[in-house]
């Protein structure tokens, strides 16, 4: 394990807090003006999933947890668990859906993701920043809908709904941003 200055903690870092491994889900440098610098964090307990807020002095020393990251392929979603496979060993693992953090609707067939492991247990899943997805439902554009100025909801192969430009049709492939769920471009 390595030591880290609290001022350098970033979102996505794994740290030991109260002797338990936590994922940093939010980290903000705060210099309140009235006092010295602090780092405001939101920490998620890797084992229980519960979150807490803690403000570190920016020069506090924090222990970073060693996390292994492995490329895995998505197989199928069972609802409460998602099954991935190691493409080299063909070994399969089941990951609780809560680790997907609401991103399970980006899991298109055979997509490669990175899974983080701590002491051989899966603790997080990272998706590529942009992925290609097929449009399975798209209504014809309704002219004159000025409220939504040039966008309409389309349904993707996974059930995800994306606000896409009016010209997008069923059967097209789109690039979608996995951080925001926003349309990026056509990918045909």
């Amino acid at each position: 394990m390595s030591k880290l200055k609290a001022g350098n903690i970033k979102k996505g870092t794994y740290v030991l807090y109260n002797n338990k491994p936590h994922l940093v889900t939010k980290a903000q440098f705060v210099s309140p003006g009235k006092g010295s610098a602090f780092t405001r964090t939101k920490l998620q307990d890797i084992n229980s999933g519960s979150t807490l807020d803690f403000v570190f002095k920016s020069h506090d020393s924090v222990e970073e947890v060693d996390v292994e990251s492995k490329e895995m392929q998505f197989l199928y979603n069972m609802g409460d668990e998602v099954v991935f496979m190691d493409p080299r060993s063909y070994e399969q693992i089941n990951v609780p859906v809560r680790l997907m953090d609401g991103k399970e609707k980006f899991l298109v067939a055979e997509i490669s993701v990175y899974i983080q492991f701590y002491q051989e247990k899966a603790i997080g899943v990272s998706l590529p920043p942009k992925i290609k997805m097929l449009v399975t439902e798209a209504e014809d554009a309704v002219a004159g809908d000025r409220q939504n100025a040039g966008k309409k909801p389309v349904t993707m192969e996974t059930g995800l709904i994306v606000q896409a430009p009016l010209f997008v049709k069923k059967g097209e492939t789109l690039l979608v941003d996995t951080a925001t769920g926003e349309y990026v471009s056509r990918a045909n």
């Binding site: 309140p32 003006g33 006092g35 807020d53 803690f54 002095k57």
Partner: protein, 348 residues
């Protein structure tokens, strides 16, 4: 996606952004109804605030002979407004931009932000508490067109009728951490409590950092859970460089901060009117700036001379207008009520 693009996509978003002009209108009519004058003072200054931990935006003023003078964007319009008070101008307010560098971007911070300051003469911080209570009530009832005492913010209802909960810093440390008032100013006592709670303290930990860390973790988070606004007042004197000490308790000063839903909305003082004491505190702060490696500049002698010539007893406050807008628009992120937040302007 940028805010202008979001607005294009969803015209309903306009209404959230237009809350800004409603808040501006509300502030102006509130103070004008009370006989205050609106003033405008420079944003580009020679002497920004001496607060040791604030970092400034530095620039240069170049004259027609190419002579360069150090200049800064102000961190608050306080000095200029108090000079006007010394000039005998009476009750005043101002809505302007202020700039703070190096604070980081967050859902509650933008380095360029809108500040409201008002100064009431022949008054102290208790009068400013009432002013703030009345202002928040006025904005809520006029903008939301209601007499309902509850303001709904992020799904929670807050009773914003006056008076707000009022708690001294010492009472808050007693209530939420169990620290007695006589121990509050002792670095050893605070460190002992912090250590027991699992904080990192060592021989180099100073009073200011352990005090602030305890406040941020153990008190501020609890204030966020209350369903009313809270006024925290009577700060340790070292935390209140521009405020008057309490006559009967000089270790503490007449400063308050007001919070709602965990958001700090304003910071107020009974203004320090003693020129000698003010100069001493400025010099200490400028020394600390040097030690901390912050941008260095001189102190505003013109301000000291204004105090020397006499300034009426005055209460004053600085309020984060963007945060008021967040509350009134029921928006959780400051970047969603500023058309062009810094992270958009400076993104690649």
């Amino acid at each position: 996606m940028k805010n202008w693009q979001r607005i294009k996509q969803d015209q309903n978003l306009k209404e959230k952004f237009f809350v800004r002009e409603k808040v501006f209108d509300g502030i102006r009519s509130f103070f004008k109804n009370d006989g205050f004058h609106e003033v405008e003072t420079p944003l580009m200054v020679k002497h920004p605030g001496t607060e040791p931990y604030l970092e400034v935006f530095e620039t240069e003023l170049i004259n027609d002979e190419q002579k360069r003078k150090q200049a800064f964007l102000l961190t608050s319009p306080e000095y200029a407004m108090k000079k006007l008070i010394a000039g005998g101008i009476g009750n005043i307010f101002q809505i302007c931009k202020s700039f703070r560098n190096g604070e980081g971007l967050s859902e509650k911070h933008n380095p360029e932000f809108t500040i409201l300051e008002w100064y009431r003469v022949n008054a102290d911080y208790k009068n400013i508490m009432s002013d703030f209570e009345n202002l928040l009530w006025y904005l809520h009832t006029t903008i939301h067109q209601t007499e309902d005492k509850f303001l709904t913010y992020q799904g929670k209802k807050y009773d914003i009728s006056a008076p707000f909960i009022r708690m001294t810093v010492a009472e808050a440390f007693k209530k939420y951490i169990g620290i007695k008032k006589q121990d509050l100013l002792s670095v050893e006592a605070l460190k002992e409590v912090a250590l027991k709670k699992g904080y990192q303290v060592d021989k180099n930990t100073d009073w200011e950092s352990v005090y602030n860390q305890l406040f941020l973790n153990e008190i501020e988070s609890k204030l966020a859970e209350l369903n009313r606004p809270v006024i925290i007042y009577d700060y340790p004197a070292s935390q209140a460089a521009l405020s008057k000490r309490k006559k009967n308790d000089p270790d503490f000063a007449e400063r308050f901060e007001v919070y709602l839903a965990g958001i700090e909305l304003g910071n107020a003082f009974s203004e320090l009117t003693d020129a000698v004491e003010q100069k001493k505190r400025f010099e200490e702060e400028l020394d600390l700036r040097k030690t901390l490696g912050k941008t260095e500049y001189g102190l505003d002698e013109d301000y000291i001379s204004a105090l020397k010539q006499g300034i009426p007893e005055t209460g004053g406050i600085a309020v984060g207008v963007d945060r008021l807008i967040m509350l009134m628009a029921d928006v959780a992120d400051i970047n969603d009520i500023i058309f062009f937040p810094a992270h958009e302007v400076f993104s690649s």
